[in-house]
Symmetry: none
Subunit: 214 residues, 4 copies
Amino acid sequence: MTSQQAYVRPLGRPREARADRAIVEATLELIAEHGVHGFRTEDVAARAGVGKGAIYRRYRSKDELALAAVADLVYEELAVPDTGSTRDDLLALMREAVALYRGSLARRLFPSLVGAMGQKPDLARALREGFLASRRAVLTEVIQRGIERGDLRRDVDVDLALDVLGGPLFYRLLITGGPIDDELAEGVADLIMRGFGPDPSRRPKATTARKRSR
Amino acid sequence: MTSQQAYVRPLGRPREARADRAIVEATLELIAEHGVHGFRTEDVAARAGVGKGAIYRRYRSKDELALAAVADLVYEELAVPDTGSTRDDLLALMREAVALYRGSLARRLFPSLVGAMGQKPDLARALREGFLASRRAVLTEVIQRGIERGDLRRDVDVDLALDVLGGPLFYRLLITGGPIDDELAEGVADLIMRGFGPDPSRRPKATTARKRSR
Amino acid sequence: MTSQQAYVRPLGRPREARADRAIVEATLELIAEHGVHGFRTEDVAARAGVGKGAIYRRYRSKDELALAAVADLVYEELAVPDTGSTRDDLLALMREAVALYRGSLARRLFPSLVGAMGQKPDLARALREGFLASRRAVLTEVIQRGIERGDLRRDVDVDLALDVLGGPLFYRLLITGGPIDDELAEGVADLIMRGFGPDPSRRPKATTARKRSR
Amino acid sequence: MTSQQAYVRPLGRPREARADRAIVEATLELIAEHGVHGFRTEDVAARAGVGKGAIYRRYRSKDELALAAVADLVYEELAVPDTGSTRDDLLALMREAVALYRGSLARRLFPSLVGAMGQKPDLARALREGFLASRRAVLTEVIQRGIERGDLRRDVDVDLALDVLGGPLFYRLLITGGPIDDELAEGVADLIMRGFGPDPSRRPKATTARKRSR
DNA sequence: TAATAACCGAGACGGTACGTCTCGTCTTAGG
DNA sequence: CCTAAGACGAGACGTACCGTCTCGGTTATTA
């Protein structure tokens, strides 16, 4: 039976992969130069060497184009670290996030992206279900393993933990302009370990946090 | 010696105070509906019942108008709570913040505000130095008092603490869409108390933070 | 009693008469250069020194603009010549028509105008009822006078006469590309005089025309 | 069953004759509906049930397609009538022309064809040298025969005569919208006979109509 | 009281980017 | 090599919005 073979090649000339890449790259360059709102679709077309039609065949609007370009920049396979230490696993992920958001492009990109999310539910959903969900899934796995390992309490509010890990980073990126560096990564990782670590009053002898500090 | 009396009434017909208010209010409503970029000056004029000229006589650009409107909205006096309990003081401030950001106007305002901050340094500075700084000052005072009281460690990274308090809230507001409620307020307050509480290994007996959580 | 004074000045800034003229003139030039369909609205705007908005505030579409421009061009007062000689009157009118259609603007304008008439009943009606009707009225008067004077037969088919006077001219202009000159004017005028001149059969000897109808 | 043919079949799949007809017919219908410029190649393809490629393999451009379609409609062998009577020969040709231009398709086709001629010299030349020249050649022969026969003056301006025969018909078709009927055919034929007939003042006894019958 | 000056609402202005559309060509898989 | 389907680069279309300017008219202070 071929019914499982769901993919049917669409009729007609296929989209050119070359154009796909060129459009995204031109968009990223122009966003970096003029901002998420400041760039012009005509310039994207010109720089990518395509017609405007080729852009609007792929993306319904300028905003969707900007989103896709950013998504392309930001999506990457995320390996679940497994160092044996919950703190080190968290730290690895946080450091990677720090590295991503320190980049000048991502730093200039996110604010307007967030602004657009408020106006375009589609974009918000796409970002949440794609980029965000994948990162949260990885963090969740690390936390679950930490619980099983006994490094974290059984009743950890996982959502809160995720938001405490990610929140301060975005807060600095979007609002305060504070430094996004490894100190931040270590700070929140340690706070999670300490705040959600096993209750010392119950198990006075086991002090995970101590061991972690080498 | 009248030189100190600097004010000279300008010639001609004075500006109408009625229009001043109407413009700001119409702007706020329209920003909430369509975002800091999405609203139209013509709509502001129409809703305020003024001409576009009246707007541009007061503000040099759409951005300046948006900034002024937001500034007008956001400034308010903030009392420093003093319940005697560091946790309760934090909780009071957090609950107030929760109440503010649950409100539909602020909730719709902030995303586009953040987006605009990325492109307009003036707006970003105004918001950081006004709204944000005042809230951080109050929280800082509560934390300092907590340290002096011995509820918190002496070496608390205050900036990190502030970002852990505020970050998750904004993260949910702007990114995840997660719930902004008292559970969140309590979660982060407890995490701060626990994570930045006095080191139990150093002073195994005194555990103020423990007791407060009952 | 001011009720007869129906005109109420519209609110706001009035349209600029300068722009009205400039738009129509630029349109005519560009139609002559590129045809009723071939000209570009952006070029009209540029040549007229106005924005595209100023054009579309006045005309709902490119077609309506073209129609208005042509209508503006084509209306002019036409005097009825009265030299005392029917042939000379006809000749005067024909020479004037020749002069008009030799002109480079009209010569380039008419072909695409005719093409458009086939597609746009509005344009066709406007042209027929304005430009064409006024010229036919003048010719009709000359012919009537010729009949009364005895220079032409009483039973002249006036419509046919008008079409024989105008047809060859347009035929050369639109189809054959043949010369439009005074020789043509004289040729058709003489043909009309000779072909529709008084019937020699009434002056009892010659009866050619009568017999033909059998 | 094709092997018996000496004709060497070109490589590959042969063109479908079905498509040839369908393309031309669809083009004619769409030109009649929207004009020579107004129709869309995509609509032609859709209505003919072919791809755009099939059209552009046959015709190099939209204009060439339009021209070919019109040519297909309009070209037909034209016999030189020879009734023995110059008037009747002219009348036969004029009646045939009337029949052609009364048809609703030709009537809708010509205006935009003329419009296009003004912008496309190639099309104008093709139409003049093909369709038009063949008709003028036939008429010229009839007139020459008329001269030789003595029905028409020796010094007839043949070009003018042709334009007087064809002009009024096109004038009504393209400009005035007047009736195109046998009355018109007879009117211009009689006018030519009378206006270009032998000068009665010079040869007072010989009546043209007499001679025609030889 | 009259003149002067800046205000008022309404809306046209020049300019610019948008997103759509069509042209004529090119590129697939398949007959 | 043909076919239908549909993507391609190019560029005009008509719309929308910006920030400015121009109306007739209003509201203050100064003369």
